[in-house]
Subunit: 213 residues, 2 copies
């Protein structure tokens, strides 16, 4: 792995463990056993590192959140989405902790973030509408947008929410599964009788994964 990549990976790890605010460029360099000067050879500044991490974030969602396909079973596609959400919430939770600050410091990153989230919103809303058309959920047109907002809000801020309820100790994988179950509950609240069973099966899948940790 190149030094540049190692800096990215170490940054993600340290940001997630100690928080973005607490980790300085010197910490990152020290953690890798390289000099601060070397870090600054590879990155213009701390914001530059954050922009590269955001690119990984975006890339993950771009590759994993394709629209629902008609010829594949819904439940297996939903499972794929939830697996991707798990990775997202696990790998980038530091970002949601300090989102307002990080974006306030870097207007360019903020513009990119907003643009991406607007696109993502439409993609998630499409999924909601397809689930409606397939009879998994029954939701009024105006509520589809509301539900989409709530889904995004929950995925984004479940990790800060749970961290604020814990006296000490790090976030663990079981916490993420708890969050995914909240997302499933959101869908279930709008489920049809037929859809309720399928979502219950999905719920059971992730409850088992949580128990197996």
């Amino acid at each position: 792995m190149s030094t540049k990549e190692r800096i990215i990976q170490a940054s993600i790890e340290l940001f997630n463990r100690h928080g973005e605010r607490a980790i300085t460029t010197n910490h990152i360099a020290a953690h890798l056993g390289i000099s601060p000067g070397n870090l600054y050879y590879h990155f213009k500044n701390k914001e530059d590192i954050l922009r590269h991490i955001f690119m990984l974030y975006r890339q993950h969602l771009d590759t994993q959140f394709k629209p629902l396909q008609d010829d594949v079973e819904v439940l297996s596609q939903l499972t794929h989405y939830f697996d991707a959400l798990f990775e997202l919430m696990w790998n980038f939770h530091f970002f949601y902790d300090n989102m307002t600050d990080i974006l306030a410091r870097d207007a360019e990153l903020k513009a990119d973030y907003i643009q991406f989230q607007q696109r993502l919103f439409e993609q998630v809303k499409d999924i909601v509408l397809v689930l409606n058309n397939k009879g998994i959920i029954a939701i009024a047109d105006e509520d589809a947008a509301e539900l989409t907002h709530m889904l995004k809000l929950t995925v984004s801020f479940w990790t800060p929410y749970i961290k604020a309820r814990r006296q000490s100790g790090e976030l663990n994988r079981a916490d993420i599964y708890q969050g995914l179950l909240k997302v499933i509950t959101l869908f279930s609240a709008f489920a049809t009788d037929a859809g309720r069973e399928q979502l219950a099966a999905l719920k059971q899948t992730y409850q088992q994964r949580q128990d197996n940790i």
Copy 2:
């Protein structure tokens, strides 16, 4: 107003406007036209200020979130709750932006926060259960806790969520109403046929207030 109180009020105002991270003790003093030394005469440090603000936060919830009373109409009590939530989300939104950091820096504040949130969780869950018993919503026992988490999550993080969708400009009152409508949508998702009408009325109330801004 005493200097101590003025410092508290100025801090809340500046934190909300520019973010807790961006505002230093010097900024607060300069904003009030007092010296940094004077500020430090009244408060031990920045964390001390934050603890006092948290006391106001707790006090607001303690006085406004009494349990549902049986002899008063439900809808008017819900309206009272939502009015209180509006004040909360409007006055303390800076806190949710940086919650993880603020709590990570101050173990004592974190302990107080956690204890308070645990109590608050039970209070909100009681409200959910009473609404269930009154036939406004119909929710399984296990889902009551899930809904309570989602209600708290939404109230806490709606403001950071909305800030991250806006290129520039401050949070405004209409944004808060949007968040309250999300909370109402959460209740509506579990509403009975009878409850749906009452919640629709509640929704209309806050949509009108939003339009009247």
